[in-house]
């Protein structure tokens, strides 16, 4: 099977998964009584009397499959419902908040991968020497750290104690001066990423300010996820170093660095590619926590607010929770798809077998 055919087959397999996901998400809402689901449509306690009418109007008591197809029709036309958290359509919320999340996640990915691979290889090459012990220590400690605790501690140390990196103001990863400028009329929103928009607006100080505010969120995402890559890279590298072709390469007199960089590391990278899916899940989950702690109005904070009723004990914003679940699911499924294709590209045995 060629790579093209493999990609097409893999794409077709995604369709049933996505349909299944929508059924599951919809099934979860079906646990709620029609009355609870009707509550979404009222904004005022005085409208409570209208609930039977709302149930009838939106058909909330119809058989589940009828409601599912109606809901799917809406979803396919891009209507994910109205979110109370932002007082805006769910799709609009997602699109508006996405850049803030991307701004945290995007810089973390290369750091996680490069640092993880570097230390994983070092650790395996220096097996059972101090460097290996330190790296393994980090790997196992990082994996046991609660994200929210790490994030709070970083905030307490770097802001509360040292005063270097403050949290965001008004839900933006910016200081109050920058927020004032951004909310004034002079600011044009090109991409939604403050770092890039700062340059496009000709205000490099805003870019600098945004970068300063992104250090801690990025750090709390990377420290934990790097642990995962290190673990996998180390064990995969150890396995590869024991292979016969490595011994052959050494026997024919190649330099040690050449053996490690050109023979061992390349082959050891393959299992790391499969971990990328877990990495995506870790980042998607990590974002919920870090955005909440660093006060950044991205997708994660929106989901947390929606699920808890805005931290104040208000009503749960069901369309927003569903919209967020659906969105993360899509991201996750497609990330896994890309990983599989990459894997098949790296290791031809996969698509032939």
């Amino acid at each position: 099977m060629g790579l093209g055919a493999y990609i097409i087959r893999r794409l077709l397999l995604v369709i049933p998964t996505i349909i299944g996901v929508t059924i599951l998400i919809f099934g979860v809402t079906m646990i709620l009584s029609p009355e609870t689901r009707a509550m979404i449509y009222i904004s005022d306690i005085r409208q409570m009397r209208a609930i039977p009418d709302i149930i009838r109007m939106y058909g909330l008591a119809d058989p589940p499959h009828v409601q599912y197809f109606r809901w799917m029709q809406q979803v396919l036309t891009g209507n994910l419902g109205w979110g109370v958290t932002d007082n805006a359509p769910v799709l609009t919320s997602i699109l508006r908040r996405l850049p803030s999340t991307i701004e945290i996640v995007l810089p973390s990915i290369p750091i996680i991968i490069l640092v993880g691979i570097y230390f994983g290889v070092k650790s395996a090459v220096h097996q059972d020497r101090p460097l290996d012990h330190i790296t393994r220590f980090w790997a196992i400690f990082g994996w046991s750290l609660p994200t929210f605790w790490l994030a709070i501690m970083l905030l307490a140390i770097f802001y509360g104690w040292l005063g270097w990196f403050p949290p965001g103001v008004n839900g933006m990863p910016l200081g109050s001066q920058a927020v004032q400028y951004v909310t004034s009329g002079q600011w044009t929103r090109y991409t939604g990423l403050y770092t890039i928009d700062g340059l496009l607006n000709g205000q490099p100080w805003i870019t600098a300010d945004a970068l300063k505010h992104l250090v801690l969120p990025t750090m709390s995402l990377t420290i934990i996820q790097v642990a995962l890559i290190i673990r996998v890279m180390r064990s995969s590298m150890l396995e590869t170093l024991g292979k016969n072709y490595i011994i052959t390469a050494k026997a024919k007199g190649l330099k040690n660095s050449e053996v490690i960089n050109r023979h061992a590391r390349r082959n050891a990278l393959i299992p790391v590619a499969t971990i990328a899916g877990m990495l995506t899940a870790g980042l998607l989950t990590g974002v919920i926590i870090t955005e909440t702690i660093y006060n950044i109005e991205g997708l994660g904070r929106w989901a947390a607010k929606a699920a808890t009723g805005g931290f104040g004990g208000g009503t749960v914003d069901i369309p927003a929770v569903l919209g967020f679940s659906m969105f993360t699911c899509l991201v996750y499924v497609f990330a896994n798809l890309i990983v599989d294709v990459l894997y098949a590209y790296l290791d031809p045995r996969i698509r032939l077998g």
Binding site: I31, F141, W143, F148, W149, I152, A156, T285, T308
Partner: protein
């Protein structure tokens, strides 16, 4: 006796080897010490921190003030404060969190919550995964395909996201018509018995048919028949129960996959063929021949998972989706601190101490799981 000792000799030798391996690896000893330490805290909780309220899982507070007080602050002479003094509390040993909750008390009793979450969720998820993975791997075919596609769907969600959605959607009480279960059980047992003893089909196949019949009946009853409930019963769910259910739903597919893989690997072994030839029933083959041989990888994964589940539960609690406010739960205690940390290091004890408990607990299980893997896995242990 002599005969018995001789027959047990290989096992004893292996056990000694295992113990020697444990002694040689310092990290696994650290893990064991941590878990034993936490077990002691959980068992001695009533002695270490005598309950002030009738419900020991509620953290006591001597006022409703939001300002945390540092470790060593005296207990205030309010109603509850006086009650606490009677029980022997003179100072807040580790200070108070926002809302004047005693941090020491919460941390000690939170250990019980952590064990409960970790062990209950893992055990229930393991049992569900075991049954589904076994059936799926052993019989294969359409059943396998359906079950694996279902696990695919659950895997398509990052754990925390699905947990959030489930906790939000689960009601505070589940109303059930118990007669439905009675009917389903009668159908299940009836079909299985008729299949095995009257029609003489194999036992496993009849059980499976019975299972499918009762599932079909439940679906028909819920969506088509609309009969009035004969034996209505409602189960109240606390907020903690809701997160336990959500965590279990997220957890079981991993085990189902793992066990299915193990069954597929083992069912082609010669000894399984041999027991089939001798005429063992499907159930006997599954539980006496396949299960014991796939136990180690499953136990290793489970011990590694306990830490992960406690982390996930803590994250849920931190977001405010865990137990009720005031319930002894580490994640929630950190969420009390959320409003203060962005201001100053002055209140370090409100987040540092409960966080340290979570971290050490998870670390203990992770070290233990890692050690188990290196020591028990036959492919790694003799290296």
């Amino acid at each position: 006796m002599e005969e018995y000792r001789k027959s047990m000799a290989p096992q004893i030798k292996e056990l000694k080897f295992t113990l020697r391996r444990i002694k040689r690896s310092p990290l696994s000893i650290v893990g064991i010490v941590i878990i034993i330490g936490f077990s002691c805290i959980a068992l001695l909780a009533p002695v270490l921190a005598p309950p002030v309220y009738t419900d020991p899982m509620t953290i006591w507070r001597d006022s409703f003030k939001n300002e945390p007080r540092p470790p060593g602050s005296p207990v205030l002479a309010t109603d509850i404060g006086l009650l606490a003094m009677e029980k022997g509390y003179t100072v807040h040993l580790w200070g108070t969190a926002a809302g004047s909750y005693d941090i020491y008390y919460g941390c000690i009793w939170g250990t019980i919550t952590a064990f409960r979450i970790g062990l209950v969720v893992t055990a229930v998820a393991l049992i569900i995964g075991l049954i589904i993975g076994m059936i799926s791997g052993y019989y294969g075919g359409v059943v396998d395909e359906l079950m694996m596609r279902f696990t695919d769907i659950i895997f398509a969600f990052p754990g925390l996201v699905l947990c959030m959605a489930l906790v939000v959607a689960l009601p505070f009480s589940i109303s059930l018509d118990l007669s439905l279960f009675v009917f389903a059980a009668i159908i299940f047992i009836g079909v299985a018995v008729i299949g095995t003893f009257v029609l003489k089909i194999s036992g496993g196949l009849s059980v499976l048919t019975g299972f499918i019949c009762s599932v079909v009946f439940v679906i028909l009853d819920l969506y088509v028949l609309h009969r009035p409930p004969l034996w209505a019963y409602s189960i109240p769910l606390t907020r903690l129960d809701k997160s336990l259910i959500a965590l279990t739903i997220v957890g079981w597919p991993g085990y189902a996959r793992l066990i299915r893989g193990e069954v597929l690997r083992i069912k082609i072994e010669d000894y399984v063929e041999a027991s089939k030839a001798v005429g063992c029933s499907d159930l006997r083959i599954m539980f006496r021949h396949i299960l014991p041989n796939s136990l180690y990888p499953i136990l290793i994964t489970a011990s590694l998972d306990i830490g992960g589940i406690v982390l996930l539960a803590a994250a849920l609690s931190f977001l405010g989706l865990g137990a009720d406010a005031g319930y002894a739960d580490w994640g929630q205690m950190i969420s009390f601190a959320r409003n203060f940390v962005s201001v100053t290091m002055k209140y370090w004890y409100t987040f540092f101490i409960p966080g340290l408990f979570i971290f050490l607990f998870v670390l203990g299980w992770n070290l233990l799981g890692d050690a188990f893997r290196d020591i028990l896995d036959p492919t790694l242990r003799r290296r």
